[in-house]
Structure formats: C-alpha cells, structure tokens
C-alpha cells in the first residue's frame, strides 16, 4: 500500500463526476418511478366502448340465403356437417346460397344464377342423379363433392367416373401410410403428414386432373410407384366446360372444410380475393392463477408451491416463448380452482399479474373453470366477482372463457348490463374446445353484444389433423385462436402434465407450426381478435376485374379490412388505398384503408 499511486483530482472534476453520477441515478430511477405512477394496469385497454359492432350490423345468413338468386347451392342432409360448414363458408365469403336436402329438391328450385354446387354425403345415389349431374356439367356449373358417392356406384357408372375424372377403381378400400398436401393448395406449402393414416378408395385418375392431396404408400420407391399413381385424396377434374372438385375423405367433420372449400374454389379463376379476419391469438386458460392450492403435490414435482411455480417458472417461460414468437398474451384469470379448498386467492399475486401483463401488452379475462363439483360454479362466480371487484375495481372484464362451466350458469349474465356481475360487460366469449365444433360457426354472435370465438387448437398437443385444420383455417380466414389450459399443470394427472414437457410442446408448436402464420398475420389479444371478427362479419364486398387491375369495393367498411389475394399467374405491381404483403408465393395479404381498393397487377416473371 505504501507504494500505491495516489491520484489527485481537481475540485472541479470531483463536482462534475458527482453530478454526473447523480444525474444517472436520477434518470434510471425516474424511469422506474414514472412507470409505477403512470401505470394503468388495472384498466382494460381492450374494452370496446366506441365503434362497437353489434349483431344487427353484420351480414347474417338471412341476408345471403335466397331461393331464387343463389349462386351456390348446398346439397346435404340435415345430419351432414358438410352442409353447415358449407353454409358457414358461404357466410364468411359473402356468397348468396341456399341449402337443399337432395338433388331432386335442388332440381325443382334450380336458379339460373347458380354457378356452383356443393354436394354432401350420399347425395348422388342413382343413375338419374348422375345423368342430372352430367347435364349440370354441360351448363357450366362447377361441382364440389365434399365426399364421393359410393365406390360401387363409381365402379358401375362410366358416366360418373368421367365426371369425377376417375380412370378406374384400383382398390375399393385402401389404408394410406400418411398423406401429402402439395404446394399451392393451402398456406404452408408442401406438407407430409406421416401419421394421417386414413382409409379411402384407391382410384387412378384421367388426364386433365390436378391433384392437391394424395395418400402415401409404404415402400413406394421399392415398388416403383410413381407419385402420379399415388391414391388421390383431393383433386380437380377439368372438363371442357366446368370444373369438378372431389374429396375422397370426409374432412368436413370440423372447420377444416372451411379452408378446403376456399382453397379449391380459389383455383377456379385466374385469381381469388376474399375477406379474412387476420388475427392470431393465444388464450391462456386458467392463467394467471392466484391461489396456492394443491401445493403438496406441486412441491413434490417442482420443489415450489403452486404460487411460486406460477410466478417464478411458468410466467418467465411463457413470456420468453411469447416474445420469441411475437405472440400476444390473453390470460384467463383463475382466482381459485378448488372452491372447496379454504385457501384464499392472493390479492398481491393478482396485482402482480396485472402489472406483468401490462408490460407485455397482454389482456386479462376471466376463466370459468374450477375442479370442484358442478354446484360450485355458481359459488365461483359470486366469489370471483367479490374478489376481483375488491382488488381491481376499475378493471372491466371484456373476455370470458367458460371452459367447463355449463352455459346455464353464465349464459344469462353475459352482456346483461343491468346486472352487477363480473360477466355483465363481457363482449368476447371464448368457446374453449379441443377441436372446433362443426355444429357451431367458428365465430358467431352469442347474443346481440357478445361474440363467441371458438378456439382452433390446443397449444399443448398438435396432431397431423390439427395441423391440417390450422392450415385450412389460416388459408380461409387467416385466423387462429390457440388455447392452453393450465388447470392440468396445477392439478396434474400424469407425467404428461408436467410443465417441463408442456412448455416444450407449446414452444415447439409455436416455433414450428405457427411461426409462418405469426409472421404474416397480425398478432392479437382475444378482444382485438373479436373486434376484427366483428368487422369481418359486418363487411360485404364486390370484386371487378379489368385488364391488369382488380377493383375491390367494400360495403360497411370500418377503419380497416383484410383480404387474401391468390394470384397464381401475375404479381402485384401496386395497390391503391391499401397496403399489401406477399405472405407466400402467389398469395398476398391486402389490408384496405379505404372502402375502394384498386390492385394493379403485372405478368409474373
């Protein structure tokens, strides 16, 4: 020490250094303090107060269904889900349509403006039907078979085979070892589904057909089978006058059919322009979780109690995954899950999540789930109302995800402004199903105020069929609403419910399957998605084509509207009154900023 160097600084320098340090300290602290004092975490930014689109302002099936002027005829029996899916598709694409239960009834009410016929299961059964279909082909009416007639009938009738573009029936029943979708059909390009093993009749096709989806065959190379000879699943047969689309498997069990209809009909003209929702959202069911229940079990698994696990493990994981995939957070709060347990919901925990959610621009709604008996749902609503109004009295909940809660419990409260219930101001109802229900529309008005959105997939589990549905819905509506249910994390039943596994599954799902769509379409919270869906339901549009131009006119335009343009042989030169992005080869997302859009096109290089 004795030999140390003594550095002398002048008084002036000392003052400058000290001042600088104080300024730095102040600036850093100022940021924190200002954040705390200006925080509006307990206010719902996503609550719609103005420009609220009610059911009456939207295009409803009543407006489109017309027995005399329909352009699309749907032939399906009442128990055939393809009929409801086709009707929903017509509603979303704003087509005038009419539903018939058989070809004979359609024949009676045939409209001259009809240019497309969607045929459901078992609608073609007799020679007379086939003969009539042939006459429709001559009238330049496009046919779309959501599932093919009986194989025996196809085998018997050369006329039907010619209509369908089938050369011959190779095998009446064949199990594929997977399926392949080819590029240019659905968004996402060529995809092989090795686990989509389906049983279909094996046909060989005539020239003049275009195949969109085929079944794979084991040892294809060894058996020297060409790709062109693989069992076709979805194809198009071009005749000299019309186009016939055939689906050799029933994809109309759920909303997958929506996307297939869009993708197939897009291939009918030189371009296709249709409205989309343009919203990608993720619903975290039962997160945030504000109680410390089931802690013994949780501690055994994670060495944390439930509250700590949620705050210190799950929340950071979720934030990092969301950030990595540019997704937005929509959390459905579960103040408690076990309403028989006396452990109270933690006030500070709730406030913590409100603050954290604000930081990542997330939205918080309410979950309807609990694990006790069915009688506890009523109790849950009461307790939650009391707890939430006590902790966050200024926060008006606009999103509600009932989960397992029976409709009878929450139905009456939704949108009932006269009532002092936590559900009174709800505008978005999340119908949390593992798979979308074909019986219900993907989104529809629950009542005049509340829009119900069906979730489109489970973020913890993604099968080949789920992926097909995801791609189909993105192609058709640019919409997805993924649900992640955290109830099983806090009340696990098996090793599969371990968060380490579930977080990996979710991360893989987001990165692998949704990433392309996340990049191209807009990330939203559920309320934002709801707002977009309302605009989508409200608008109507007309398209006119001129040389190197496409004119789009939008009725009931509200601030913005999104459209998908499929333009296979040209490319966009410029767009007036809208912005556009190329989301994939030949596909563009058009975001209109005015009610009249002109798309200038040029020849593709």
């Amino acid at each position: 020490m004795g030999g140390g160097i003594i550095v002398k600084i002048s008084r002036a320098n000392f003052i400058v250094i000290t001042t600088t340090l104080f300024i730095i300290l102040f600036l850093f602290q100022f940021v924190n303090l200002s954040t705390i004092y200006t925080s509006k975490a307990t206010t719902n930014h996503y609550l719609e107060t103005t420009d609220f689109i009610a059911k009456e302002q939207t295009v409803l099936p009543v407006h489109l269904k017309d027995k005399k002027t329909y352009s699309t005829a749907i032939i399906a029996s009442s128990d055939d889900t393809s009929g409801s899916i086709a009707s929903e598709w017509c509603l979303f694409t704003k087509r005038s349509y009419y539903c018939f239960d058989s070809l004979s009834t359609f024949r009676k009410d045939f409209s001259k403006s009809c240019n497309m016929l969607i045929l459901g299961k078992n609608t073609v059964t007799t020679e007379a039907d086939i003969f009539y279909l042939d006459s429709l082909c001559q009238k330049r009416i496009h046919l779309l078979f959501t599932s093919l007639p009986e194989t025996t009938l196809i085998q018997k009738s050369p006329q039907l085979r010619r209509i369908l573009g089938i050369k011959q029936v190779e095998k009446s029943d064949f199990k594929t070892s997977g399926t392949t979708i080819y590029e240019g059909f659905l968004l996402g390009g060529t995809t092989v589904y090795p686990k989509m093993k389906i049983r279909i009749p094996y046909f060989s096709l005539l020239s003049g057909t275009k195949t969109y989806m085929v079944g794979n065959i084991k040892k294809q190379k060894q058996n020297n089978i060409k790709n062109e000879n693989l069992p076709p699943i979805i194809w198009r047969n071009g005749t000299q006058k019309n186009t016939v689309f055939c689906l050799n498997y029933d994809f109309f069990k759920d909303q997958t059919g929506l996307g297939l209809l869009t993708a197939l009909t897009a291939d009918m003209g030189s371009y296709a322009l249709y409205p989309v929702v343009n919203a990608q959202s993720v619903v975290f069911q039962n997160l945030p979780y504000c109680a410390n229940e089931n802690s013994d079990t949780i501690k055994k698994r994670y060495y944390y109690d439930s509250k700590a696990l949620c705050q210190n493990v799950i929340w950071p994981d979720i934030v990092s995954i969301l950030e990595a995939n540019n997704e937005k957070f929509s959390g459905m709060i579960a103040p408690k899950l076990d309403y028989k347990d006396s452990t109270p919901s933690d006030r500070n925990t709730l406030l913590f999540y409100f603050k954290q959610s604000e930081k990542i621009s997330g939205e918080l709604g309410l979950s309807g789930d609990q694990i006790s008996d069915i009688k506890s749902y009523e109790k849950k609503l009461k307790l939650d109302t009391a707890f939430l109004q006590d902790v966050v009295p200024n926060y008006t909940f606009s999103a509600f995800s009932p989960g397992q809660m029976p409709e009878s419990v929450y139905g009456a409260h939704l949108g009932n402004l006269g009532e002092k219930n936590i559900l009174s101001h709800i505008t978005t109802l999340i119908k949390n199903n593992d798979t979308t229900l074909a019986s219900e529309n993907l989104f529809y008005y629950y009542n005049s105020r509340v829009l119900a959105l069906q979730t489109t997939g489970n973020g913890f589990r993604h099968t080949n069929f789920d992926d097909l549905r995801l791609k189909a819905l993105e192609t058709s509506l640019a919409f997805s609403c993924v649900s992640l249910d955290f109830r099983k994390v806090f009340y696990p039943h098996s090793k599969q419910d371990d968060w380490t596994k579930l977080s990996k599954n979710y991360s893989r799902y987001a990165k692998t399957y949704r990433n392309a769509f996340n990049k191209n379409f807009q990330q939203t919270t559920v309320s934002e998605a709801s707002k977009k869906a309302r605009r989508f339901l409200a608008l109507n549009y007309s398209v006119k084509e001129a040389p190197d131009k496409i004119h789009l006119t939008i009725e009931h335009f509200n601030k913005e509207a999104s459209f998908l343009l499929y333009l296979p042989n040209k490319k966009i030169a410029s767009v007036d009154n809208a912005s556009y992005t190329e989301i994939e080869k030949d596909r563009y997302l058009i975001t209109a900023s005015k009610d009249h859009v002109t798309i200038n096109t040029k020849m593709q290089e």
Binding site: S207, N227, Q240, D267
Partner: protein, 799 residues
C-alpha cells in the same frame, strides 16, 4: 427488357469484350513495339496477334484437358503478363514497395491519403491526358477521314444489324451447327463432331467463357463486329495501295452504298459464321506481303549503299529484327489465321498471294525474297495445322465436311478432266460450226492452195517460193488470230453473262470485264516500262480480280470449279471495290502528278466519293435490305431470352421443334414436338406423357416457317400458311428424319395448336399464354413437379 434494347446492350457488350481482348490487350502488351507505327499498323498488328494468341491459348487448354473459366483466364493473362514484363520492363517491385511504404506512412500519419493518391496516379493520369491530347490532335488532323469512316460504318452497322434488331432469330441453319460445337466446348469437348478449323469457335468460346456472354447473344450480334472488321481490312489494304488519303473511302463506299452486287454476295455478313470471320484476315495477308516487298527493297538498297560505304555493321546493329521480317511474320500469322478460321479463305488467300507474287516477278524468285517467303508460308501452315494435327494424333477424327471437301476436291479433279474433255468437244463443235457455215476455214484453204500448187513447185523461182511461203505464213497467222479472237470473244460473252449473276447491272458487269482485261494488259506493260511498286500492286489487284472472276465463272467457262457460285460471289464482290479503288487511284496518280500530289489534289478523290454517293442516292440505287433464312419466329427468340433470364436453370422444358435446341442447351430442357404429339397419336386412355419440370413452355408457330426458304428482311418470314383445323386433321409423320419440312411442319403445328386449346380448357389457370403475336404463341404451364400432369389427351386430331 425490350428486345431491341437488349440487342443493343448485347451488341455493345460483345463489341467491347472483343475490343478489350483482341485489340486492347495486345496493344498494352506490345505498347513499346508499336509506338512508332501508324494507326493502321497498330490496329492490324493487335488484331492479328490478339487472334493468334487467344485462339492458340484455347487450343492449348483443350490439349492439356483443362478447359474451364479459371484456367482460361490464367492461360490468357499469365503469358501476356510475362511478355509484357519482358518487353516493357515495368518496375513492379519498386511500385509494390512504394505502395507498401505509402500504406505504412498513411497508418503512421506521415502522409495524407491525398498525397499518396497523387503519387500513385501521377503516371496513369499523365498517360491518360497525353492519350486524350493525342487523340484530339489526331482527330483534328483527320477530321474529314473520320467523318467518312464513321458515316460508312454507321450505315453498315444499320444495314447488317437490321436482321438482328428486327427478327432477333438466327438467320441461317449453319449457325445452329456452330452453336452446338461451341456448346460442346463449354462442356469441355472440343472437336465434338471431328476436326475442323476452330479458330472462330475458339474466339466465341473465349468471349463466352471469360465474360459470361450467352452464346445465343454472341451468335446474334457478333456478326456486326465481324462485318466492321471485314470492311476495315478492305479499307486498310486500299489505304496501303493508295497514295491519296481519301481514295480508300471510295472502295468502302462502293462496297457499302450502291446496289451493285447480288444479295448473295453480302448476305452472309449478317451472320456470325467462320468463313466471314476468316475474311478479316484475307486482306491483311496482302497488306503484309506488299509491305514485305516494300521494306525488303528499301533494306536492300540501304544495305547496298552502306556496304559501299563499309558501314554495314552499323546498319545491322540498328535492328534486332528487320522490319521486313516483321512484315513477313505478320503475313505468316494472317495466312495461318485464314486457315484456322476456314479453308475457303485460305484458297482465296492463296490466289491473292499468287497474284502478288506474279506481279513481283522476277523479284520474288531472288533468294533474299524467295526463301523468307517460303519459310513464312511453311511456318504459317505449321501454326494453323499443328493444333489440329495434335488432336488428330490424340485420336480425334476429321469432321464430315472435311471429308466432303476432300472428296469434292477429288471430284473437282474428275470434273476438271471432264471439263477438259468437254472443252475439247467444244472446240470440235466450234470447228464443225465453222465448216457448217460452208465458209471454208482459212487453214484448209491454205492447205488446198498448197496442194494445188505442189505440182508446180519445182518450176517456181526462189523469189516466188519465198513470196508464197511468206503469204502462207501470213494466212496461217491471220487464220489463227481469227480463231483465237473468236474464242476470246466467246469467252468474254460467257464471262459477262456469268457476271450478270453477280452484279445487278449488265453495263457494270460488261464494263468490269473489259476493264479488268484491259488494265491487266496495261498494268503488265506498266510494270515492264516502269517497274514501279504502284504498277505491280495495280497489276496484282487486277490479276486477283481476274482470278476471282474466273473462279466465279469457272462452271460457265467449263474450267475446274474450286468452289460453288454462292461462295465465290462473296469473294468476287469483296475484290471488286479493291480493283475499282486502285483504278481510280491510277487515274488520280496520272492527273495529280503535274500538281505534285499537293493537298488540294485530294479534292479529286473527295469529289469522286461525293459524286458516287450523290448519284447512288439521286438514282435511288442504294443497297436494298438483304434476305434472311429465318429458322425461328421473332417471338420464339424473345421467349427464349425471357425464359433463360427469368426462370431458374434446368427448372423448365420447352416443347418445340429442334430449331431452339442449341439456344437453350444446358440452361433448360428441350422436348421435341414430333415426339410429344407422336406419343398421343392415336389417343389411348392408358397413355401417360409427363415432363418432369416445374415449368413447361410450348412454342407454337401459328404461321409455320418454311426452312431453307428465304424472305427479304422487310417482308414477313417465309411461312407455309396458317395453322388450321383442316391441316390438323391431316396425317402427320412423327418418325420421319425431317419432320419439320414444309407440309409436315404445318400439320404438326396445327395439331399442336389445337392440342394447346384443348389442354387450356382442362387447365385454364395453370396453362396460360406466355407470349403471343400474329405468327407465334407460347404457352406456359406451371405444374407441381412432385405430381405431374398427363399431357396425353384426346384433343380431337390425334391421328
């Protein structure tokens, strides 16, 4: 890009590339050696050395089996660099050291970057400024000459590039063959079809490889550069032969503007072909041979003079290589280049050199002339034949056309004999016809008289005998003279009628025939009288033209024909302006002599040029646009360009006739039309016809071309009609050896057209029109390469 703009860009690109490699590079290497030389000498030296160097570099890398872009660049640059270093002694090490030091000075802050830049670029800046100054000075002194040259060149560029700019397609079938050979070279396979003079191919291969210029572009536009060089070599030779500064322009003007020659004489200049490329080196042979005689004469005079003064060693020390030897080297190289490019040019070069040799008789046989020329000749043969010989020894066979040429030559010998015998017969016929007229021929009259008087011979006195003998001799000579005069007259008539095929004016061909003969005699006498080089040169040129006339009229004159009419007419046309210029120059020399060839005497050639130009324009006698044997529709070439430019390599196939095959070779795939249609004729349900690429283009000629049939450039391309159902119904021949000839082509294209219409109904979105005009349509099909479309359909005309 607009096709015409694209063509212009390619033209500039090709011309610049050629000039850099074949003119600028040799000039930079031989900068010091060329310093004192005239611009003409510099230009010709660079052109010839550049060509011989690069052609042999290409041969070398193929002989070593190392073809490739990098090896080619190294092989071209490294020897040139070492030669440059050897000849110019550049201070490379010092320069590098200076740069190194400067860099460190810059880092240490001892010098500013501006100072270093100033030092580094001081010399280049000086050289550049000096060059600009010299160029301006040169142009100022020769302004009118440059104006003449540029005007004539501009007209020629317009005239000969008209086809390239308007039809875009290949003008003749030959191009396809040469294109395929160079395509093979790009794949590392020289002489793919056998040994052939590959000089021209090497040049195009070099340009294509080094600069990445597509061969199709080179074949379309290189002809313009080639044509300019052909015209320039005519200009340079006339410049060498003329004393007047402006007389050479007369030759160029005659060859450029008036509609004197048959279209066949100049049509090939529109196309990039080896024979035309070889023509560039034809007149330089004469140029350097004449230069050799001039220089050698001057050297011998000087040598004699200094030997007398006993200062010979002083004189010898002046030169490392005698200027005459240099001329002879350039002559040898030029001659070898003719042989490297095309055999026909060598034949003509031989005639030209022979004419010069005869003109310089007997000087040419002096040992100081004869042996160097002989050595040069042998060396030139060796230079050109050696690479081909090396490949032959490696086992490559001769190309078919060479066998054909050899057999033709042997046939020619046979025909010579036949011609001789025919000539004899003709002679007999003539005599018969003479007697036939019942006018006894003079010799027989003399014989009769001789017989009648034989009895009285003994009785006659010596004086009488002498008188009779003289009279007899006189009659005999007169008789012979009449016979030969008649023969000459007949030959002249034959020549004139033959030349009528070459020249568009009968008067001109008559005048030219007589003028050639007259001036051949006059210049011969001029040589005897004056022995001046000018007279010898004039005689050589006249003799050369005369030989060209004989070559052209050989068949009509029943003498052995070395080459066919179509080829000979090109060389005759090329020789004509040379002769006319020399003729005008001779007149100028005589008229301007009293005025001592002062500058104002130049008004005479200027006036003559102006008069020729004026009369040509006044009488609307300007050369008409030439003909073209199109093998593709303009739209087809346009599509080829578009596809090659915009679609990924090997990701597309074109279904068409074979005319486009070489153009797209190695870029994409080609599927032949007759195979395509043949597979679905007749239609069977089980027929599967697929093409495994993402994009498939279908070229359909709505007005099918008639191959081997020409059309004038301002007229539509020769076609066999319009595609129709009637033709589609007819039976087509799919497996014939020539499926695309007139009728079958029309039938095939008609079927193809209706196939496309039917297929478009099935795939309206995927099968779209890519390009369409009045005579051509191109469809594009986009398919999934993993699941291909079956093209075999029943389109209604599958027979």
């Amino acid at each position: 890009m607009n096709m015409q703009l694209q063509t212009l860009f390619e033209l500039i690109q090709c011309s610049l590339a050629y000039m850099v490699c074949f003119l600028l590079l040799p000039y930079l290497v031989l900068n010091r050696q060329l310093k004192e030389k005239s611009l003409t000498d510099k230009f010709l030296s660079c052109l010839i050395l550049g060509n011989i160097y690069i052609i042999n570099i290409v041969f070398l890398i193929f002989l070593l089996h190392i073809p490739g872009r990098i090896t080619l660049i190294l092989a071209a640059i490294l020897p040139a660099f070492f030669i440059w270093k050897k000849l110019n002694h550049p201070r490379i090490l010092q320069t590098l050291l200076f740069l190194y030091k400067s860099f460190f000075k810059l880092l240490t802050g001892e010098a500013k970057i501006r100072t270093i830049f100033r030092l580094v670029f001081h010399r280049p800046k000086k050289v550049l400024l000096r060059t600009i100054k010299k160029s301006i000075q040169h142009i100022r002194c020769h302004f009118l000459e440059w104006c003449f040259l540029l005007a004539l060149s501009a007209f020629n560029i317009w005239y000969y590039s008209y086809q390239t700019f308007h039809t875009y397609s290949y003008g003749t079938n030959d191009l396809v063959v040469h294109h395929s050979w160079i395509n093979q070279m790009l794949q590392g396979n020289i002489f793919c079809d056998g040994i052939y003079p590959f000089g021209f191919h090497n040049v195009l291969y070099f340009l294509g490889s080094i600069f990445g210029i597509p061969l199709v572009s080179l074949f379309r536009v290189f002809s313009v550069m080639q044509m300019l060089l052909i015209y320039l070599s005519l200009y340079f030779l006339t410049k060498k032969l003329c004393r007047s500064r402006f007389m050479p322009y007369l030759g160029m003007l005659i060859f450029t503007l008036p509609n004197l020659f048959n279209f066949q004489s100049t049509m090939r200049y529109q196309w990039t072909l080896p024979q035309e490329y070889g023509m560039i080196f034809l007149y330089p042979c004469a140029y350097y041979l004449i230069q050799f005689f001039d220089r050698k004469r001057a050297e011998l005079v000087k040598e004699k003079e200094l030997t007398k003064k006993r200062k010979l060693y002083t004189w010898l020390a002046l030169y490392q290589i005698h200027p005459s030897t240099k001329s002879l080297v350039f002559f040898a190289i030029s001659f070898s280049l003719t042989l490297t490019a095309h055999f026909y040019i060598t034949i003509i070069a031989f005639f030209l050199c022979a004419a010069i040799a005869i003109a310089y008789f007997p000087t040419v046989f002096y040992y100081r002339y004869f042996f160097p020329i002989l050595t040069a000749g042998l060396i030139s043969l060796f230079i050109s034949v050696a690479p081909m010989g090396a490949f032959y020894l490696q086992g490559t066979q001769l190309q078919g056309s060479l066998y054909w040429a050899l057999s033709a030559m042997s046939d020619g010998n046979d025909s010579t004999q036949a011609a001789d015998s025919e000539e004899d017969d003709d002679n007999d016929t003539h005599s018969v016809s003479d007697t036939g007229k019942k006018t006894p021929s003079l010799p027989s009259q003399a014989v009769l008289q001789d017989k009648g008087n034989a009895k009285n011979t003994n009785k006659l006195s010596l004086t009488e005998k002498c008188r009779q003998a003289v009279t007899g001799l006189y009659h005999r000579i007169a008789n012979r003279a009449v016979v030969y005069t008649n023969k000459l007259k007949n030959a002249n008539h034959t020549l004139i009628s033959s030349l009528d095929k070459e020249y568009n004016s009968h008067t001109f061909s008559t005048a030219l025939t007589y003028a050639t003969e007259l001036f051949l005699v006059l210049s011969f006498f001029a040589i005897l009288l004056w022995r001046r080089p000018a007279a010898r040169n004039f005689f050589a040129v006249t003799l050369y033209l005369f030989l060209m006339i004989l070559l052209f009229s050989a068949e009509d004159l029943h003498i052995p024909a070395v080459m066919d009419h179509a080829r000979a007419c090109i060389f005759l046309a090329y020789a004509t302006p040379l002769f006319l210029t020399c003729l005008a120059e001779a007149v100028y020399l005589i008229i301007a002599k009293p005025m001592h060839y002062r500058f104002y005497t130049e008004l005479l050639p200027i006036g003559l040029c102006a008069l020729v130009a004026f009369l040509t324009i006044q009488n609307n006698y300007i050369k008409k646009l030439n003909i073209v044997y199109s093998i593709q529709q303009p739209g087809e070439m346009r599509c080829n360009y578009e596809i090659m430019k915009k679609y990924p390599e090997k990701d597309w196939t074109i279904v068409t006739t074979t005319d486009t095959l070489q153009v797209i070779y190695y870029k994409g795939w080609h599927y032949e039309l007759n195979t395509f249609l043949g597979k679905m004729a007749p239609f069977k349900r089980e027929t599967v016809e697929t093409i495994p690429t993402k994009y498939v283009f279908f070229y359909i000629e709505k007005k099918p071309i008639v191959l081997e049939s020409f059309s004038f450039l301002n007229h539509p391309i020769a076609n066999s009609g319009v595609v129709s159902k009637e033709h589609a119904r007819k039976r087509a021949y799919y497996k014939t050896t020539a499926p695309y000839t007139a009728d079958n082509r029309l039938i095939l294209e008609s079927k193809f057209y209706y196939w496309a219409k039917a297929f478009q109904n099935l795939y309206p979105q995927e099968f779209t029109v890519f390009y369409e005009d009045d005579s051509f349509i191109c469809y594009r099909l986009k398919q999934n390469p993993e699941h291909l479309y079956n093209f075999a359909i029943d389109y209604g005309y599958n027979n």
